[in-house]
Amino acid sequence: MPNEEMDFDFLKERARTIRRHVIDMTCAAGSGHPGGSLSATEILCTLYFHVMKHDPEAPQWKKRDRFVLSKGHVAPGLYAVLAESGYFPVEELRTLRELGSRLQGHPSYGKLPGIEMSTGSLGQGISIANGMALAAKLDSSDHRIYCLCGDGELQSGQNWEAAMLAAHYKLDNITVFVDRNKLQIMGDTEDVLSIEPLADKWTAFGWNVLEIDGHDFAAIIKACEDAKRFRGRPTVVIANTVKGRGVSFMENNADFHGKCCNPEQKEKAMCELEECL
């Protein structure tokens, strides 16, 4: 079905559920990173509920598409889509950050089904995707590797080492999403350490570059389809987003990068998420 004719009500409803989980679980934990989870919600929902081939009943299925969360602090968002996909009970989300929980503060490989790699130390995800993509090529498997990066983490040099290798080996089975919400802990990425001109950088490194509205389901789906068709080069999708998206007082507010809502804020946030989108 052409995208423009698609009915996005299902994905919209999912996104609202995911955002509510993110607020709820970070509040239950008393800490965590809601801001980036909210900016990446549409990307995560589109990948897990529409684009990726994966089977929660068989998390180790060899031909599944892989997802690497380079920005590991978006664990609440990832856990929410995994639970809603059926990898583990939704009730477990509230154990986030608890002693003994499978839901570690940042994703930990081997603990929770659906987690493809331990992440959290920023700047390492694209390298992991490179290894997965090389393995897929060696095994002549047509599964794809998706990787979600933050924009701030692109300040780390390893990303650009990885970008060079992916282009050198023509890893066209990789799609990297950059959650371009423009904020990091200390403020605007362009004030902290500017990463622009971002598209030009990726182009210069030999990547196929797409730029979209990261909250637009049709645009995300189309970017994934274009990336799949594109041969000989990896694709990066610069997804322009709003940090804290969906909750008025969290939007474009760097304070909520690594801080959860207080009880009043939680109530307000949940109310807004009932009505929004």
Partner: protein, 321 residues
């Protein structure tokens, strides 16, 4: 005794493994002609990936391959293999407990002319402190070959370090190498000399010198530094009542530290450590450097005499002849 470079046998082992196991993949950071991964590259170019001078990405790429079911060997010089990408090893290899084998050559001061920037004296310390990591320092070329084979069979992260120079071959081709198992190369009763890497052969030479003075030294090849073979160490230390360690590494964090930790949590026999004493190296001929930095058989003999004195001064020591 024949002198052979360990890395030559590592290269041969990798090439042999390539033919036996299609899941073996090798990564290089522009040093394959020195580390000898080039042997594998020639035979199996489709499973050899040149990563360029970018070690952090090489380790991440290795992790991505390993998590997809490949058995990955990533190789470069010891300085770059451990220090340059320690966080990548910690986060992406050790923490998720992946099947990545980091094999480093050019460890220690015997690198020679390149100087301190290229002489890894901290690598064992860096790797030993990581949970899930196995650390192997083969005593000679034969062990380098067997350890490479053993690592391919071992499920989990490993670090192996080798020197640049040709070292004496002291183990036989038929000798068995098991990860985590030390071997007693020479029985003795007055002092235990525990060596790793090329210092094992220096321990054997020191034992000969001590013998001329009427001192009977036991020599242990502790080629796996982690997990340390505490049984073999303590059984020996229990009999000889004093221990000397010898390693081409800083005395901080390597074999000497591992043995000290083990002894002090047990009967606490006197220990003396031979190693680089908290300093960087410098340029020079390997032999000159080994003398200047206290890594000769004479240094081991001196340490043995000192530690034997200490045990005799210990309360309750009984002369046993």
């Amino acid at each position: 005794m024949k002198n052979v470079a360990q890395r030559a046998y590592f290269g041969k082992a990798l090439a042999d493994l390539g033919g036996k196991d299609a899941e073996i993949v090798v990564l290089d950071a522009d040093l394959g002609s020195s580390t000898k991964t080039s042997d594998f590259a020639k035979s199996y170019p489709e499973r050899f990936f040149q990563c360029g001078i970018a070690e952090q990405n090489m380790i991440g790429t290795a992790a991505g391959l390993a998590v997809s079911g490949k058995k990955v060997f990533a190789s470069t010089f010891a300085v770059f293999a451990t220090g340059r990408c320690w966080d990548q090893i910690r986060q992406s290899v050790a923490y998720p407990d992946l099947n990545v084998k980091i094999v480093a050559t050019h460890c220690g001061i015997s690198v020679g002319g390149d100087g301190a920037s290229h002489q890894a004296l901290e690598d064992v310390s860096l790797m030993r402190s990581l949970p899930n990591m196995t650390v192997i320092c083969p005593a000679d070329a034969n062990e380098a070959y067997k350890a490479t084979m053993a690592m391919a069979e071992h499920d989990g992260p490993c670090y192996m370090r080798m020197g640049r120079a040709d070292f004496p071959v002291i183990t036989g081709e038929e000798d068995v190498f098991i990860i985590g198992k030390a071997t007693v190369l020479k029985k003795g009763k007055d002092v235990t000399l525990v060596g790793s890497g090329q210092m094992v052969s220096v321990c054997l030479e020191a034992a000969e010198m001590l013998k001329e003075d009427g001192v009977s030294a036991e020599v242990i090849n502790m080629s796996t530094v982690k997990p340390l073979d505490a049984d073999t160490l303590l059984e020996s230390a229990d009999r000889t009542r004093c221990v000397v360690t010898a390693e081409e590494h800083s005395i901080i964090g390597g074999l000497g530290s591992a043995v000290a930790e083990c002894l002090s949590e047990n009967d606490n026999q006197p220990l003396s450590r031979v190693g680089v004493r908290d300093s960087f190296g410098e340029s020079g001929e390997p032999e000159e450097l080994m003398i200047k930095y206290g890594l000769t058989k004479e240094d081991i003999v001196f340490a043995a005499r000192k530690v034997i004195d200490r045990k005799r001064k210990k309360k309750g020591f009984l002369w046993r002849k």
